[in-house]
Each structure stands twice: as structure tokens, then as C-alpha cells.
């Protein structure tokens, strides 16, 4: 599957705003699944937020990151503002590097995403350790590695609605 980017010749349809918000809420839903202290779970909200900040920096930015960060803080029962701070910094970085990242293929894109996601976790780690929390162990960072591996499939799935052709015909019924 050839990832559409600035270098590809494929022209996508414009994104629908409701789809962006739906995907973010769905990611929040995945994050709030009561799976307990299972290690190596990716932070879906961070991943989807990073994707949209790279893909649509004019529509999704730091404001959305802040709102979803506060919702995550309440859902997790963690320190208020912990996720909000980390996500805002993630959105800023992703938005700043969006033009650069989109020039690369999927593999190189993931290599850009990895430090951003690890940085998000580092921010949260610093915030919590400075408030005398317990160090969760190095397995905590494995979530970011998994999320990086998921970057290519996630971007394919989230771009699917934009692959649709303008006119339906019998070969392409959707």
C-alpha cells in the first residue's frame, strides 16, 4: 500500500471534521477500557491526536489536545493537567513538524513519531515523579514502541474515508 503523501500523485478527498472528532472520541474510548495495569498498551489518544496534528494541522491543534488531555486525566484519575500538558506539547511538536513528516514514507514517518510519543511519556513521567509518585518501570515506555508500530496501519484506517472516489460506479459501490 502506497502511503499518500506530498510526493504521491494520489489526490485525496477533503477530510470531514466529524470523522476527526469521532476518531478521537473512539481513541478515548479505547484508552478508558478497564484493562487494569496491563503493560505495553499504546496510548491511543496520543497516537490519533499526533496523526491528525500531522495530517490536518489547521483543524486539530493544541486546543483539542488540551481538552482531550483533561478528559484523560479525569478518566484515569491521575493528576489533573498531567495528560493535558503532555498532549499540548505533543500537538505543538506534531504541528510544527507536520510539513516535514508528510514528505516521508510510512517507515520514516514512524521514526519521527517515536520520539514524539516517548517525549509525551517522559513529560508525564517528570510531572508525576516531581509529585512523589512511584516509578512504573521501563516497561512503561513499551507502549510508545507499540504505538509507533501501529502508526502505518492507523494512518491507513484513518485515511480510508478520504480514499473514496468522487462518483460511485459498479466497480466502486461505496
Amino acid at each position: 500500500m502506497n502511503q499518500p503523501s506530498f510526493s504521491s500523485r494520489r489526490i485525496l478527498r477533503p477530510v470531514r471534521p466529524w470523522f476527526i472528532w469521532l476518531s478521537l472520541v473512539f481513541a478515548l474510548l479505547l484508552n478508558l477500557m478497564p484493562l487494569g495495569r496491563t503493560p505495553m498498551l499504546p496510548d491511543w489518544v496520543a497516537l490519533v491526536l499526533c496523526f491528525w496534528c500531522v495530517r490536518e494541522p489547521l483543524r486539530v491543534g493544541m486546543g483539542a489536545a488540551f481538552v482531550f488531555g483533561v478528559l484523560m486525566d479525569i478518566g484515569y484519575g491521575s493528576l489533573m493537567g498531567q495528560h493535558a500538558l503532555a498532549y499540548v506539547l505533543l500537538a505543538y511538536t506534531a504541528g510544527t513538524f507536520s510539513r516535514r513528516i508528510l514528505w516521508f514514507g510510512p517507515l520514516q514517518q514512524s521514526l519521527h513519531v517515536l520520539p514524539m510519543l516517548v517525549g509525551t511519556q517522559l513529560v508525564m513521567l517528570c510531572v508525576r515523579l516531581s509529585t512523589d509518585a512511584e516509578f512504573p518501570g521501563l516497561g512503561y515506555f513499551a507502549g510508545s514502541l507499540i504505538a509507533t508500530l501501529l502508526w502505518h496501519p492507523i494512518s491507513f484506517v484513518l485515511l480510508l474515508p478520504q480514499y473514496r472516489p468522487e462518483d460511485k460506479d459498479e466497480n466502486r459501490p461505496i
Binding site: 478497564p34 483533561v70 493535558a84
Partner: protein, 307 residues
């Protein structure tokens, strides 16, 4: 809004609002304010409760597939295992039944003796059974969520125990569920005493599910395997509840204190049915001025501290 050319506003694809850096500074300072206010001042419980109206439906929706899979797994669970468990429970019930029969008599005897000794009656502890729904996903703390909340009359600060010993304390109450901080959490402190010697100490979580007894001098009389029970000095936990067993005693610490690691007796990290007790009101220890409150000559024993 002044535009560079009169009568012409910039086309919409140039309009991006405030500069990204300015937005970053504003939002980061807002987030930092939230962090400081939540950590230092604890003013945000109301905001948390209010916004939990948004997240609770999402949490319930997210929990549905998990509980579905879990109950399906239980449905297909091994029949033999269930039968064995049933057998065990029945045997336990008979054993407990005999104890209960004796306890009624002991209770009556206790009341009589207390009346004779002119001591105040111990309050009857009323408790509610709750089910642990899930562990909180926050990897920096150890908390679980139970299925009883404000509507069932759960109060923050209530002690939580299971059938073996102390599990933790209710720290946050939502309308339909409550958050219990486990005793293995690093921020959770518990006043305890060593059952064999009666030495009082404070127990803290030490990470990775273990507990630590802090601030004991290096010559303290303590062995591996000693049982630790609550001392009841905080007035919140009833005295004498089993807490932990001493796992290792390291006396050559350089800090002047002995390093004591303990393992909790109750199934703190395994989530099952728990009992939420009504919190006792903390009472200041008697200053000795009122002779009626504490019998002369008696140490501030748990009985004297309990209301």
C-alpha cells in the same frame, strides 16, 4: 480589525488565529496551573466530579466489551473448579457458623465486662460489600475502582478490607463508584503495630506491591514472619486488622533506620469482593485533664482512643 489593504481581509486559508507559540505558552501555563492546583491545593475535586459526567458514560461503554469477555470466560469456566470452590465455601460457612454462634455469646459477655469496667462501648462497625470493577489505568499509582459510590452512602476516607485484612482506603467518591487507594500505593500511610511486641510504626507502600515499615530504630525487636496489624491510632481503621507479614529486615542501613519490607496479607493486587467500613471519626488523644475519658494509669490503648 485593521487589514493591510482597505476593504480586503486575508483569504480564509491564511487565517490561523494566534501564533502557535503563543497558543503553546497559554495552554502549557494552563496545564501547569491545573497540576499545581490539583497537587498542592486539592481544589479540583468539584471540577473532577462535574467533568466525570462526560467521562463516566464513556467508561461504562468502554467497560462493556471487557466485562462481556470476562463473563463469557466465567461461563465457560471449568465446572470442576467451580464445584471445588463451592465445596470450599460450604466448609468455610460451617466453620464460620460455629464461630458466629460463639461470638454472640462473647459479645454479650464483652458488653457486661465493659459495663463492669466502666469503659465506653465500642461502636458497631457498619460495612458495605462492594465489588472491585477494575484497576485504575494510571501506571504511577495503585488504585482500584469499586461499584459503590455516593448514592450508596460511601464516604471518602472509609477503610476497605477483604476477608483476610486491610486493602486500602477510599480516596475519591463518584456518584456511582468510588476510588480506593491500595496500601501498596506510595502515598498511602497506615498506622500499624507489630502484633508480637506491640511496637507502633507507620506503614507505607514501597512499589511493586510490597510495603515498608519506616522510622524504626535499628535495634527494634522484629523478625521475619512477624505479623503487622493496624494500631487504630488514626481513629479511621479499627485496631487489630491484619495488614502484612515481615518479609525482610535489613539492619545495616546507613540512614540510622532499619529497612523493613513487608508483603500484604490481603489480596491487595488481586481484585475481588471487598468490605467498605464506615470511617471512624479521628479523635485527639486525651490530654489527661479529663479523668473520666481515660482511666488513670492506662496507656493510650486503642480502646481509649476509639470513640
Amino acid at each position: 480589525m485593521a487589514s493591510p489593504v482597505a476593504g480586503h481581509s486575508p483569504p480564509p486559508f491564511f487565517r490561523r488565529g494566534p501564533a502557535p507559540l503563543a497558543r503553546l505558552v497559554v495552554l502549557v501555563s494552563a496545564a501547569l496551573t491545573l497540576i499545581v492546583v490539583d497537587h498542592r491545593l486539592n481544589y479540583l475535586e468539584l471540577l473532577r466530579q462535574g467533568l466525570s459526567v462526560v467521562t463516566t458514560p464513556l467508561q461504562v461503554a468502554a467497560g462493556m466489551p471487557v466485562t462481556g469477555v470476562r463473563s463469557a470466560g466465567e461461563y465457560f469456566a471449568d465446572l470442576a473448579r467451580l464445584q471445588a470452590e463451592n465445596e470450599d465455601l460450604r466448609r468455610e460457612q460451617v466453620a464460620l457458623g460455629t464461630i458466629r454462634l460463639r461470638q454472640e455469646q462473647l459479645d454479650m459477655e464483652n458488653t457486661r465486662l465493659r459495663a463492669l469496667l466502666d469503659m465506653r462501648e465500642r461502636v458497631q462497625v457498619n460495612a458495605q460489600v462492594a465489588e472491585v470493577i477494575y484497576a485504575v489505568r494510571d501506571p504511577f499509582s495503585r488504585r482500584v475502582v469499586v461499584d459503590k459510590g455516593l448514592t450508596q452512602g460511601i464516604e471518602p476516607g472509609s477503610p476497605v478490607v477483604d476477608d483476610i485484612g486491610v486493602i486500602g482506603q477510599v480516596t475519591r467518591v463518584y456518584p456511582l463508584n468510588a476510588e480506593v487507594t491500595l496500601i501498596s500505593d506510595k502515598d498511602q500511610a497506615l498506622p500499624v503495630q507489630i502484633a508480637r511486641t506491640g511496637v507502633r510504626a507507620v506503614m507505607f507502600g514501597a512499589g511493586s506491591g510490597t510495603l515498608e515499615l519506616r522510622y524504626l530504630a535499628t535495634d527494634v525487636d522484629l523478625r521475619e514472619g512477624d505479623r503487622i496489624v493496624t494500631s487504630g491510632l488514626d481513629g479511621v481503621f479499627a485496631p487489630g486488622l491484619p495488614v502484612a507479614r515481615v518479609k525482610s529486615v535489613d539492619r545495616d542501613g546507613s540512614g540510622g533506620f532499619v529497612r523493613i519490607l513487608c508483603v500484604p496479607l490481603a489480596g491487595v493486587e488481586s481484585h475481588s469482593t471487598v468490605l467498605i467500613m464506615a470511617p471512624g471519626k479521628p479523635v485527639l488523644p486525651s490530654t489527661g485533664n479529663d479523668a473520666t475519658a481515660a482511666p488513670a494509669g492506662s496507656a493510650p490503648a486503642p480502646e481509649a482512643v476509639k470513640p
